[in-house]
Subunit: 139 residues, 4 copies
């Protein structure tokens, strides 16, 4: 299992007239957590796309426990439990600075060959990087 | 069961560098489908807030089947199956003009007393409006 | 001069904790007004991109007179005064249903050859469409 | 004159199908630069609102020189030249890590009494903080 924390500051634009962060933004926070994790393991998701593989989203789930507010510094925890083959699953926990759990989420992404636009398997270099960074192979 | 269709045009800003609609926008489409439904039954969600009841989101689920593109005219179908008590559950199906299912979703919202900021039940006038518009009471 | 009105509904997500539409959204409204105008004259901006011409933004100006609110039905007026050559200039006026002017804006876009990524002139078919739809040539 | 630099990472969601950052995002970057500056001088814009003063935007200008891309680390420079009285003017320069100027901007904000919703002057504590942080009084 890989656990990776990244900090995200709540912007004013992401609030709504209820005075809290609009729920659609958590989906963006999950995505930026994945981007930050990629940078952390030494690649960029841009490299993935340049290598000819797109990662379209297949599924999102999000549970809202407590609201986030403008200017809050959130910790977005990305949890990776499975070695990706046809799909890459990430789980998320979002905490405020008091350590309260605000949100829990899940994303499932696929891998798509950019040329054929057909589903493909996770690139081996990506799997290797995940294994190198602490993910245990199922075998 | 209530089924309500609303049309939403895809804006350029909602595309991403994959050339398709960014997945976070579907969450906004669900919300606007709810807003359009409220207008259709003769109220505005603004009326709900002015009457002292907020409807914070508790849960979102979204499954992505096929991409939407810039300038597409989407049909967002809102499906309401249950009379809301403490929670209001909506299901969604998003179609393109070819009738292809692009996305399926679910949202669960709560009801919050704006003054006490405590959970409350669905306002009776809202339940009555839903029943008047075709929702069957469970009893 | 071409004057083209399009209606845009304010979405909940576009409000902020001040209880009004966040100012960044007006820039999106201008863009969607251009898209709606393109559809009105029988093309799509997607056609422009497919024909090999991108229209990157060069300049935006926006003046905020009165706030827009959630669920407001806005009229976004696009005003085109000049036949585009290297640049395409649009002016905007945004009104609420009471006819109050909420916002005034300006955008300048360039034309870019998608293959060479070098600036180019407005495609003749686009200029012809504008002339056919009421724009007067300067000559 | 105050010059304050803040770093902003480009998120995937902020790209569009042209493969670059959508122009509306720069307006958000300006806002977050102001928020970061407020934190830097020891307050939060949330404090401003809690003290009863809103700062609605009156004017935005933005000039786009070069595109920003996904995952770019941008430096957003906020430049404050004038002691605010009825208005607070900020200028912006956005650079990539190669030091290239991507964008230039300007914002003018007003001050609004939250209770009366009437324009008011800049709170003295805010003016004092700006003077303490290097802004020269005109007198």
């Amino acid at each position: 299992m890989i656990t990776f924390d990244t900090e995200i500051r709540v912007w004013y634009v992401d609030t709504d007239q209820m005075g809290i962060v609009h729920h659609s933004n958590y989906i963006k926070y999950y995505e930026e957590a994945r981007s930050a994790f990629m940078r952390h393991i030494g690649v960029s998701y841009a490299d993935m796309e340049e290598s000819g593989v797109l990662m379209p989203i297949l599924k999102v789930e999000s549970e809202y426990k407590r609201p986030a507010k403008y200017d809050d510094l959130l910790t977005v925890r990305l949890i990776i439990k499975e070695v990706p083959t046809a799909r890459f699953t990430g789980e998320y926990e979002i905490y405020n600075t008091s350590g309260e759990l605000l949100n829990r989420g899940l994303t499932v992404l696929g891998f798509l060959n950019k040329t054929t636009m057909r589903p493909c398997r996770a690139p081996q270099w990506f799997v290797d990087l995940l294994l190198k960074n602490g993910l245990k192979s199922d075998k």
